[in-house]
């Protein structure tokens, strides 16, 4: 559905304050972190101090003796496996602890303090084993196996292919065109390699769940999660409990960014609750545990070989991705899959070969993180584009313009770009103009500037991303009417800050022709009450649930009109709706108010017709296919959102410090649903991406110990670290099947922020950097090395 006349929009596109604003600014929004249930116990976990160890014995007797301890549990007594795509994880480590920070035992007690003191009394005997910390090492034939039993695990067939007796839970292949022919056609072949370290989401509310094992094989779960239905289904599979017996409730969530997709603390709190006689058990991660127990964003090594003609057309791209999945596959395998099918960037690459290896190591495991692999692959892709352009002697903006996907082109999975796709070149154009790009500075200019101690540089970088989700992803919206005609919009999508609930309310108000104030979106998703939604991930919420909202609103209007037609003695086709009223089109004085209809219409004589109106709308992803396991060909993408960043930075050449002067970002959003929320989403994402660019990384000792698992040494940006100025361009080439033409733009802002900084860094210094983050120390040593390429 696209908008013919934007001037007619009343709510959609407008800057409308978020629905949950008052609750949040008054501190009255209740998060799971804040909740206490009657009889509730508090849990704490014992964690492995080693990256890889055999668990020889666990003695819990001292802990059990402590007054107030209600349950102590170890992996031995738990015969369950959990996993999203590859079922490889125990609720508590059994036999082997596979990363430092992995829970090996847990306690539920009357207070957090008692639970913590009991944990300190649990004695675990380990035999330390040689860990494998680097995915490239883990691929070697003689590498230690993180999962010797990989061949026996169950997994999602048709999508993933674990390789037994290796450290590889999945390899995603893309084969498009004829790679050899492509390189033969090339006048120039360029090879580059890049690296991103693992990082964390750092939602301000750490992971927390409260679970109660109820009689009758029932379970009640309150969790700070993105996806109540996925928690429920994975939980059901893990314990063999029927879905209808499990109720998952999600109240306000203090940030997610992908880290709260999937399932985390729910199974452990359940087994503790069971052991404690059915009392509810709460487990909240400390910030330190959030870093080294809860999953992160995977590290990535990427290698590119690019073939181009003299006039700047890409003829071939070969890429190898080595993802550092850590100890468990979790979302990592799917991140590696998405990274592969998006692994050539938003460019037309006629001949492409990609192998994306997801590799187990003894690190805290990887999961979904805003961007879902795209920030990682695009760090390399967009740096590579600049390097190739330079080797060709071509301007990097011009080189990109020559190769970007345009209508009629094919992606590397064989998807044809149509009029419904966005325009990546509009985004590039917008940011290049914004930063007044006029080509790289010359070596003389650089040398002259260096004498002042500060050098400036500019750069651009592109990005694209589509939702990574199953072909059959679906969602539903229910609109129920209150007696006064106002509406409750019911969804199981979680709004943990994106503003989706507000956008959905705007859509409902627009279609229902009623004031936005009269549309209520109750917080708390509840699998027993709110309709199915697969997950709140992948930037598909506004798109899919938006379409479902349109359908639900139209369904409600149809019901309203059917009743009105009877009362007003006309055909449904003779009716129009406006201002919560339904009119005769030829006689506006004849109308009924919604509130007269939505709970049954009562005639003056007391007889009545109709009944409560409930609007129901659904949406299921259209036309997606699985990817061919050998070639990766197929249609994985519901909607591609394209974007670009342009940056100007300044480097202190004595210290290597970067100062960001300007960061301009453009996205082809199709149609803006809420301008204020969209800008907010972009600014927040850009700053998160700037963290990945400048400061964020996990550090490990040689023997695999996590060295910076706290805010003291893992730095996310503060208000002091902002660019001098930022700009956001909302470009609107509509997506024909999007709600009002809209596309998702939740994850995209952080993608390619590191790339644009890296590209600007080259312009400033004439040095190529290949590893993130671009700390002042790294930049300084690059300058000190005197080299044009700095690989450390």
């Amino acid at each position: 559905m696209i908008v013919e006349d934007k001037s007619k929009l009343r709510y959609v596109s407008k800057d409308i304050p978020r629905k949950d604003g008052v609750e949040k600014v008054t501190g009255s929004a209740v998060y799971v972190a804040d909740m206490v249930l009657p009889g509730m116990l508090y849990a704490k976990v014992v964690k492995s101090p080693y990256a890889y160890a055999r668990i020889k014995s666990i003695n819990t007797s001292e802990a059990e003796k402590i007054p107030g301890v209600r349950a102590v549990i170890t992996g031995k007594e738990l015969n369950y496996k959990v996993g999203l795509y590859v079922v490889d994880k125990d609720i508590l480590a059994k036999d082997f602890a596979r990363y430092q920070g992995e829970p090996v035992a847990a306690v539920a007690a009357d207070s957090e303090l008692i639970a913590e003191m009991a944990c300190e009394k649990i004695k675990v005997e380990y035999e330390e084993l040689e860990p494998v910390m680097d995915p490239r090492e883990a691929l070697k034939p003689d590498a230690p196996l993180v999962h010797p039993d990989l061949g026996n695990y169950s997994y999602m067939k048709g999508v993933f292919q674990p390789r037994p007796k290796t450290n590889i839970p999945h390899v995603q292949k893309i084969r498009h065109g004829d790679i050899e022919k492509g390189f033969k056609e090339a006048d120039l072949v360029v090879e580059t390699s890049f690296y991103n370290p693992p990082v964390q989401h750092v939602a301000l509310e750490t992971h927390v769940a409260i679970t109660q094992a109820l009689p009758g094989n029932k379970v009640l779960i309150y969790t700070s999660a993105q996806s109540p239905f996925t928690v429920r289904s994975l939980f059901s599979v893990c314990f063999g409990i029927p879905l209808e017996n499990i109720r998952v409730k999600v109240p306000y969530v203090g940030g997610g960014f992908g880290g709260k997709a999937g399932i985390h603390l729910e199974p452990l709190t359940y087994v503790l609750s069971k052991k404690a006689g059915g009392r509810p058990v709460k487990l909240m991660m400390t910030r330190e545990e959030e870093f080294n127990t809860i999953p992160s964003r995977q590290g990535l090594y990427s290698d590119f070989k690019t073939g181009v003609t003299k006039d700047g057309k890409i003829t071939a791209l070969e890429a190898n991705y080595y993802w550092d999945a850590g100890a468990y596959a979790d979302y990592g395998v799917n991140v590696g899959r998405a990274g592969a099918y998006a692994g050539a960037g938003p460019y037309e690459v006629p001949n492409c070969k990609i192998d994306s290896y997801i590799v187990y190591t003894n690190k805290v495991f990887g999961t979904a993180y805003r961007g879902f692999g795209h920030l990682e692959v695009l760090w390399g892709i967009e740096r590579n584009m600049d390097i190739v352009a330079r080797k060709l002697g071509m301007d990097p903006v011009e080189f990109r313009m020559k190769n970007v996907l345009r209508q009629g082109a094919y992606t590397i999975t064989g998807e044809k770009i149509t009029r419904s796709h966005g325009h990546v070149y509009d985004c590039l154009d917008a940011v290049a103009k914004d930063i007044k790009w006029s080509g790289y500075k010359s070596e003389e200019e650089r040398e002259k500037e260096k004498k002042t101690g500060k050098v400036r540089g500019k750069g651009v970088a592109l990005l694209h991303k589509a939702p990574a989700m199953p072909t059959f992803t679906s969602t539903a919206i229910i609109l129920k009417f209150n007696e006064n005609g106002s509406v409750d919009l019911m969804t199981s999508l979680t709004d943990y800050g994106q503003g989706t609930y507000t956008a959905l309310a705007q859509i409902a108000a627009e279609i229902l022709k009623m004031p936005i104030e009269r549309i209520n979106v109750p917080w708390d998703s509840d699998t027993s009450f709110t309709p199915y939604d697969w997950q709140t991930v992948a930037s598909k919420g506004a798109f899919m649930s938006g379409n479902a909202t349109i359908a639900a609103a139209e369904d409600a209007l149809r019901q309203i009109k059917e009743i009105a037609a009877q009362v007003l003695k006309c055909d449904v086709a003779d009716l129009v709706c406006e201002d919560e009223k339904v009119y005769l089109i030829h006689n506006p004085d004849e109308y009924l108010e919604y509130k007269q209809i939505v709970n049954g219409y009562v005639y003056p004589d007391g007889t009545s017709i109709g009944g409560p109106v409930i609007g129901r709308g659904r949406y299921i992803a259209q036309g997606l296919t699985n990817l061919d396991p050998e070639t990766g060909q197929g249609l994985p993408a519901l909607d591609w959102t394209y974007g670009a960043h342009g940056a100007e930075i300044e480097i202190d050449i004595e210290t290597g410090e970067i100062h960001v002067i300007r960061l301009a970002s453009a996205f082809d959003v199709g149609q803006t649903l809420n301008e204020g929320l969209a800008r907010g989403q972009i600014i927040g994402g850009v700053i998160q991406g700037l963290g990945s660019a400048l400061t964020e990384e996990f550090k490990f000792s040689k023997d695999g110990k996590f060295l910076n698992a706290s805010f003291v040494d893992y730095k996310i940006l503060t208000a002091k670290d902002l660019p001098d100025s930022m700009e956001q361009y909302l470009i609107e080439n509509p997506q024909h099947d999007g709600p009002f033409g809209a596309r998702g733009v939740a994850e995209h802002p952080m993608i390619s922020v590191p790339s644009v900084i890296g590209n600007a860094l080259y312009d400033a210094l004439g040095i190529d950097y290949f590893r993130l983050p671009l700390t002042s120390e790294r930049i300084y040593f690059g300058i000190k090395s005197g080299k044009k390429e700095y690989h450390d």
Partner: protein
């Protein structure tokens, strides 16, 4: 979490000193280091002696001597207009410590008692030749700052002693500065921090470097350089050479030793250029 502990808030210094002599008793002032260490299981005091009620620790004077009591927090030091005039380097240093909220609690004395090699208040106190006034069972004693801090997280405080105040007996006239290299602009511990004072009339130049050895390093021989070298760039180079001979930085999670070394050179030069021209 913070483990069970006893708490006592003495009304007099005598009571405080007595309480501090009990087994495993710790003084509690701002608590911004101690409570973190307790939560993290690094320290396990049995008794916290909250010294915030002690009048003796609330002293603050800037006329003649500078006297900063044990309870004076860092925001107070930043905001006090008189101190800013007499000894701006203290406020400059304090402004780089932690966050606004923490500086409402964190004290200058606490910063040096924690004795982190990277303590941001230490270099300024070294160059100002501050003294630490300690009270204990044997009465009061004055300890020069460089004898007070003895190692990583080590001080010369003895059992039962409490720091009453820091004194700067002769607030030197001269140009001062404090510079700090950190990983980003937000609150961070120092990779390197440097403070200095230069007085052309007396020919004194004092430079102290933090985070590059087990204790802050006060350079020796700077006066001679200052007196003999007139060109400020040359002086900056020479002092930075001296600095590199005097420090012994290590690799840690915040920085490599080499980067610390190179940044020491840069920051010392910048410092010297600021205060000597």
């Amino acid at each position: 979490m913070i483990k069970p502990v006893a708490y006592f808030k003495p009304g007099s210094l005598k009571e405080a000193v007595e309480a501090l002599q009990t087994e495993n008793a710790w003084p509690l002032a701002g608590g911004t280091d101690l409570l973190v260490n307790m939560r993290n299981g690094v320290e396990h005091p049995d008794l916290l002696v909250d010294i915030k009620g002690l009048e003796e620790l609330n002293v603050f004077e800037v006329d003649g001597k500078i006297i900063i009591g044990g309870n004076i927090n860092l925001n107070f030091i930043i905001d006090d207009a008189r101190l800013r005039k007499v000894c701006p380097v203290l406020g400059q240093s304090a402004l780089t410590v932690a966050t606004y909220q923490l500086r409402n609690r964190a004290t200058l004395v606490g910063n040096i008692c924690n004795a982190s090699p990277a303590a941001d208040m230490a270099p300024a106190l070294y160059v100002m030749e501050a003294e630490v006034v300690v009270s204990g069972p044997q009465g009061e004693r004055h300890v020069p700052i460089n004898e007070f801090i003895t190692g990583v997280k080590k001080t010369s405080l003895k059992k039962g002693e409490v720091v009453l105040r820091v004194e700067i007996p002769n607030p030197k006239v001269g140009k001062t500065a404090f510079l700090k290299k950190q990983r980003y602009r937000g609150h961070d511990l120092a990779t390197v921090n440097v403070a200095g004072i230069a007085n052309p009339d007396t020919g004194t130049l004092r430079v102290c470097i933090g985070a590059c050895a087990v204790t802050p390093v006060l350079l020796k021989g700077t006066d001679e350089l200052y007196k003999s070298i007139k060109d400020v760039d040359e002086l900056a180079d020479k002092v930075s050479e001296l600095a590199l001979q005097s420090i012994s930085p290590i690799d840690d999670v915040r920085s490599s030793a080499e980067y610390r070394r190179d940044m020491t050179a840069v920051y010392v030069k910048r410092l010297v250029r600021t205060i000597c021209s």
